[in-house]
Symmetry: C2
Subunit: 154 residues, 2 copies
DNA sequence: GTGCGTGCAAAGTCTTTGCAAACCG
DNA sequence: CGGTTTGCAAAGACTTTGCACGCAC
């Protein structure tokens, strides 16, 4: 999905729900479009946003993140580090990318593999559960940490 | 794994690491063996433990949960409700059960399906990442909530 | 203009920590 | 006995909320 599209999707969804298309909300979403960081915490977003417009408060960032999540523009993630993280909810890729979390250095790498179709029917049949989304996290050790560990041995 | 085995595993691991096998730690682990609740928060555990021994403090519960997680007796879970939850880390089943989280009522159901073998090699090859564990959560609507929604329609 | 949205600070929730006393080994 | 572990209370980290002002529509 192109960046311009994301912003106009926001505008559209905001209108639909009769919310207001405010400067602050624009800037918060823009932070996700501009940043290379894929998994930002509220604080991360606040720092970026604060440069653009120092008047914006942290509470507004939290409120925007919550709103955008409810509008399905963002996805809320948890990597177990005590704070929520958010990523653009690009539906065309969301259902096929997962997170590899390194237990050594904490680095988070993305991994693509769509296996939802494999299980969706099974879960539907066995549990009567209607899946609308899923989150998959892998824990392990990344290339670098494995290398480091090996160097320390030898 | 039998209940008795879990407690003796604790004893063994405690010894190995030269920690102490205290009454409090026994009681905290026992809470998991006795409770029918599969996914307890620190507060849940505290309530149970507190009945057995009102002197035990919440901080001790937190410290025990952390210790047991590091000893791989428990697994720390996150269902996005703002608190950590814990379950017994029964290795024979852990790698094949996942959580179905109902977006309607918040109920968490378990679902068995071991697909780790399918992806482990792939991840190893493509990312050089050595997987030691994974967590999979499905979000959707449970039988009851689907029924309720249908009733409201008709 | 009206009412939703914002900024600030205060409050809330969950979790961690400092310290003296208690206890395991 | 000595060093861990505990209980308590206080502090810490993240997030939410109350309220008066400001801005989008």
């Amino acid at each position: 999905m192109k960046k311009a599209t994301v912003m106009s999707t926001l505008k559209k969804k905001i209108k639909e729900h009769q919310y207001k298309f405010t400067t602050q909300r624009k800037i918060v979403l823009q932070a996700f479009l501009d940043s290379k960081e894929n998994h930002m915490s509220a604080e991360d977003v606040y720092e970026i946003v604060h440069e653009e417009n120092p008047a914006i408060g942290l509470a507004t960032v939290y409120r925007s993140l919550e709103l955008f999540t409810s509008l399905e523009l963002l996805k809320k993630l948890d990597f177990g580090d005590g704070r929520s993280r958010y990523e653009l909810n690009d539906k065309t890729i969301t259902h096929s990318h997962h997170h590899l979390i390194c237990l050594g250095c904490g680095k988070v790498v993305e991994f693509s593999y769509d296996f939802l179709n494999d299980v969706k029917d099974k879960i539907q049949k066995e549990n009567g559960f209607n899946i609308v989304d899923y989150q998959l996290k892998f824990y392990g050790y990344c290339k670098d940490c494995i290398k480091k560990a090996n160097n320390n041995k030898g």
